[in-house]
């Protein structure tokens, strides 16, 4: 039982960055994990523009962890729906708690995310700021580019090659470059990769 719970908690501790707002009445559970950072999220989209939920983060640096938990509000501020492409601008905000160097206190986060994609290409950039008074005011920035070597029908397995660049001063690997594979099938997405310094990454996201 303990083993099962451990595996489950590891799976749930992964977090995926993407899809901050989905279709009306849709749920997203997503997780992302790198060597020294993980992030988990549960969001509900009230409309196709507004989602709320919970997001937790853990950054590890020099053997010490910084934990953050937020009640979040994500907003799709702008969307372009073209014939062959889509572009989005999302705004993130969160209010919650931080636990940094054995001290707990209130914290907040805010940020923005833009992306553009076709069936074969993806480009995205996001920036968040984490703030805990008198403790830290830290950014995390992430950029991704990717391509899909072939297009497949709606209900088939999709495959993408991507590269992620991330800047996260709260983590050991402050700057990381991570080539990865992204797959999705129906309502499940998963990604796996390894940074050029060897740190591994595994992400999972489900829409329902």
């Amino acid at each position: 039982m303990l083993k099962f719970l451990t595996i489950l908690s590891i799976i749930l501790s992964f977090q995926v960055s993407a899809h901050p707002v989905i279709y009306k009445d849709g749920w997203v559970i997503s997780s992302f994990n790198m060597d020294n950072m993980n992030d988990q999220q549960l969001m509900y989209s009230f409309t196709s523009r507004l989602a709320t939920g919970f997001n937790s983060y853990r950054f590890s640096k020099d053997g010490k962890d910084t934990d953050l938990v937020f009640a979040k509000l994500n907003y799709l501020a702008w969307r372009y729906n073209g014939e062959k492409s889509q572009a989005n601008l999302y705004l993130h905000s969160g209010l919650g708690l931080s636990d940094h160097q054995s001290k707990s206190q209130g914290a907040l986060m805010y940020g923005a995310e833009v992306d553009w994609e076709t069936r074969e290409l993806f480009v995205g950039f996001k920036h968040w700021q984490y703030y805990a008074p008198h403790q830290f005011d830290m950014p995390v920035s992430m950029a991704r580019v990717g391509f899909s070597p072939f297009t497949v029908p709606f209900d088939s397995l999709q495959t993408w090659f991507m590269v992620q660049a991330m800047y996260a001063p709260l983590a050991d690997e402050t700057v990381s470059l991570t080539p990865m594979l992204r797959f999705f099938y129906k309502n499940v997405l998963w990604e796996m990769g390894a940074s050029v310094k060897g740190g591994w990454m595994l992400n999972l996201m489900v829409h329902y």
């Binding site: 279709y23 196709s48 073209g82 492409s85 709606f154 999709q158 129906k186």
Partner: protein
């Protein structure tokens, strides 16, 4: 009496019809994101089947016999899924 029933059945089978709706959708580039379209229409009692075609950007909706679905409802489902309707045609 039997003849009347048979005649009624024949008339009713002649007048029954099943409508197909073809919806051209803009922005439909990601199959995972477009699952919302399928989910919303599949929930509807009047819908027999739905097929999303990413190549042509078309959503094909087949209704059950003698059922209808207003353009406004179709449009709302697509918009609630995060997309825009370019055109709706019926067969």
């Amino acid at each position: 009496m039997k003849k009347i029933l048979v005649a009624l059945l024949m008339v009713s089978s002649l007048t029954s019809w099943a409508e197909s709706i073809k919806v051209e959708v803009n922005g439909m580039v990601c199959s995972m994101c477009a699952q919302g379209i399928e989910k919303k229409f599949k929930k509807m009692d009047v819908v027999k089947s739905i097929k999303v075609d990413l190549d042509t950007k078309v959503v094909h909706i087949e209704l059950l016999e003698n059922q209808t679905l207003d353009d406004e409802v179709v449009r709302k489902n697509i918009v609630d899924s995060g997309y825009n309707v370019a055109k709706i045609t019926r067969e």
